[in-house]
Assembly symmetry: C2
Homo-oligomer: 259 residues x 2
Amino acid sequence: MCELLGMECNVPTDIVFSFSGLALRGGLRGPHSDGWGLALYEGRAVRTFLEPAAASLSPLATFVRNHPIKTLLAIAHVRRKTRGRVALENTHPFVRELWGRSFVFAHNGTVRSAKKLTLGRFRPVGDTDSERAFCALLARLESSFTDYPRARKELYRAIAEAGAEIGAKGSFNFLLGDGEHLFARCATKLSYVIREAPFKAATLADDEIRVDFASVTTPNDRVAVVATAPLTRDEEWVTGIPGEMWVFRKGRRIATLAA
Amino acid sequence: MCELLGMECNVPTDIVFSFSGLALRGGLRGPHSDGWGLALYEGRAVRTFLEPAAASLSPLATFVRNHPIKTLLAIAHVRRKTRGRVALENTHPFVRELWGRSFVFAHNGTVRSAKKLTLGRFRPVGDTDSERAFCALLARLESSFTDYPRARKELYRAIAEAGAEIGAKGSFNFLLGDGEHLFARCATKLSYVIREAPFKAATLADDEIRVDFASVTTPNDRVAVVATAPLTRDEEWVTGIPGEMWVFRKGRRIATLAA
């Protein structure tokens, strides 16, 4: 099992505070020491930092925390392997191009019968059920639309349906980014919080690190943070219902698709 | 115009010395200050470090130099934009998955009539002629083979022919990696050196940095380094003939395909 972290905002924001909380769980406070990854969008393109080793001990993870990169959309993951050995090719998040966009995917759980999924023209580089599930999801989208759909709600529906089908067996908690939205599916465990004015302080659940968001934001800022488990101890996190999928855009939850 | 750097070895090697030479040309000693990127393979997967800013001033480039990652195959690029604005999506090297492998591509030159190229199912995320040419190259490979060809020479031939066709107009110097080979096409300017026993010392052409390779290698090590212009002043670099493509594997030039 693994832990997921997503951030989606209306103004470029750095993910350092939340990523610090996640990184603590990557080997120091949590058992997720088999790798970590962070994907940061700039427009439709993305850059990733990936390491098949514990985040809590990683100089690269420390660098990322010390040199914050602001972004509107980020997806991070710490891994404790269930299937697939510890290797770069098995380190989330995974990236594929579809419709001239970088799609980013991270998964928590296990997809059963992943070998039987229809993958279309997408092929896994590694040997995780997660990457196969991502390939299957994109293959379904590609077969449903010839281009990025103008009718956004059709896209949301298609992703939710693909998630339900692929995750019918097993547990398919995932975060998916397309450069414009953060899609977050809860199969067993997922939470989110929206940070907006009036901003308050928050303390990491796993450490004494505290940030006063009022001092680092403007009144118009809005940030959605999604995580496997609440990362802070003094904010109100919304808990997901198994089977539902949230869609975030500009720091708002703009859609919830039922199971 | 841009500068290319590739490294392909028979034992995992860090690219720090050569990358330092390249980074110097990225804004400090050279005019290539519009971005830099570095792709490092681990098996069939790859990780990239990308920045749409000058390498010589980049904390991330400094981090990469200070925390060397060993690899069998690496491709790096410093950019001076000709087409496409300064942005992450226009920063080389580009990565796409084909046949369950990460293909990595970096280009020096200009491909004319890039808009007319047939791209198959690959679509550019950014707006450079380089990424379009990469998409066109992969589309040709995908239409020629249903899977990674066992007959490797057919692959070499297909890449060389695609390079010649796509680069027929303009200048198409490129480096292409598939996790197993480094393909290096010379259209106007490309050089390589093989470092092997007996190892000697070498000094960067653009700086006083000097490495005695004998002290950091074993007698069986073999490293091929390809660059737009020789990076060292005291080694014998082989200069490419316009139109030819080299194939490197395990630190050897194993094939040369004529124009």
